[in-house]
Symmetry: C2
Subunit: 244 residues, 2 copies
Amino acid sequence: MQKAAIERNNETIAAQLTPVGRETVQDRVYSELRRALIGGLFEPSQVLTIRGLADALVTSTMPVREALGRLITEKALEALPNRSVRVPPITLERIDDLLRARSLIEGEAIALAATRMGPRQIATIEAMLGEWDEMRALKHKKDIDREATLNQSFHFEIYRCCGSAVLIPMIESLWLQSGPCIRVAIYAFSEAGEVDTAHYHRSIVAALAKQDAQAAREALVADISRPFAFLRDKLQSAAAKDRT
Amino acid sequence: MQKAAIERNNETIAAQLTPVGRETVQDRVYSELRRALIGGLFEPSQVLTIRGLADALVTSTMPVREALGRLITEKALEALPNRSVRVPPITLERIDDLLRARSLIEGEAIALAATRMGPRQIATIEAMLGEWDEMRALKHKKDIDREATLNQSFHFEIYRCCGSAVLIPMIESLWLQSGPCIRVAIYAFSEAGEVDTAHYHRSIVAALAKQDAQAAREALVADISRPFAFLRDKLQSAAAKDRT
DNA sequence: TCAAAGCAAGTGTGATCACAAATCAAAAAA
DNA sequence: TTTTTTGATTTGTGATCACACTTGCTTTGA
């Protein structure tokens, strides 16, 4: 009966090894497409083909078609009656609709998080704030991708603290849907002399540190409203010019 | 140049024919599984196999696996590390989580709908109320499925009026997730001498008729809270008995 | 010159097969 | 009797093929 010894030995080994995971090809394709979508690598109204993506990702069509199907059900992509799939086009109604939903749900999530975040979590997002400043000090132009990634990490680090396994996937779905839209705005921001984006994040952190749920919610809504409002104006003026 | 004549002839034909549609097998499988899930035909923690479902639905595995993938991404099903898929088990946290999310989002949807529903729409849901009474007067026992369906139609008829293409899919996802849970409660209700379910719906209709968004929201929350609260008590007492 | 028909390339969908991993049951060892 | 091992069956995953539909272009006819 050396079962205990064997068990102990296995545990020792397990402690040294890092899990290799068993991610399927489909999962990798799905993650990659998600990343591309949130990052705004695809343009609104762009049509995607299964074989095209399969070639680009160097796999067969099978994992791609399943990943596309999943993205369609969460409204990150759109199935046309022709059976082809495209990233949803931007419309004024859709912008307002997305902003309202995001304010509602992400606002609730941050309000919940405000009462649950400990000093440990606050420190984490404060560190991200510092990283942000650091990056902007260097003034790299092409760090727009990195900036977007950092922004995403900042928000989801907070949302993860809300303790709701139901809300978080919904928020992810909303980011997926608004990704292609807001990327347009982000680019425009970057060109038009960036307003102090970090300012909004700072007030979010301040509210969370005080455990002030209402203030956190308002600061968050102000933060996410900005690119949507910008995009809205841009679309409206474009429509006005179109009419002339 | 008899183009106009031909055109007119085609229109005449078109008026007589009903569109045949071009629904794929995958779509049918998906709809069928959705129906089963919302209707509570699957039990929580039940494991589903691709080939098993394919046999039951009399198709090949291909449409089933894609439908399952879609249901997993909207959290209606759960992918185990073993790669097998099951309907998510019920836990106390999950019940509270689902109720909170549903109150938040469906509450917002009905508040929006309250300002947008015309007399036409009000009449529609009032008619459903009547249908409900009629059904209960007959006192059929096995009409529990029909009752659930009617309940679903009632709610979504309202939600459709909220004018948000983003909120509605989220609500559908939430119903999908809570379907297997609340079915347990519904059955128990039906046995334990049904409380006046219709009463809650009547107060919803009354609030909507007055365009009172806040009252509508509160009435709705009261309505959907009921089965969740019931299920919560049941689970807690079961856990208490388990401890002894 | 222009519109309709016809053809060819491309695309999504479903079926089937091969393979690896998981599961379960019976047999062997302790 | 209990535990381990072994082997057979089941299951998910990915690849490939066949088919039907769409799309875009060319050709034909008025």
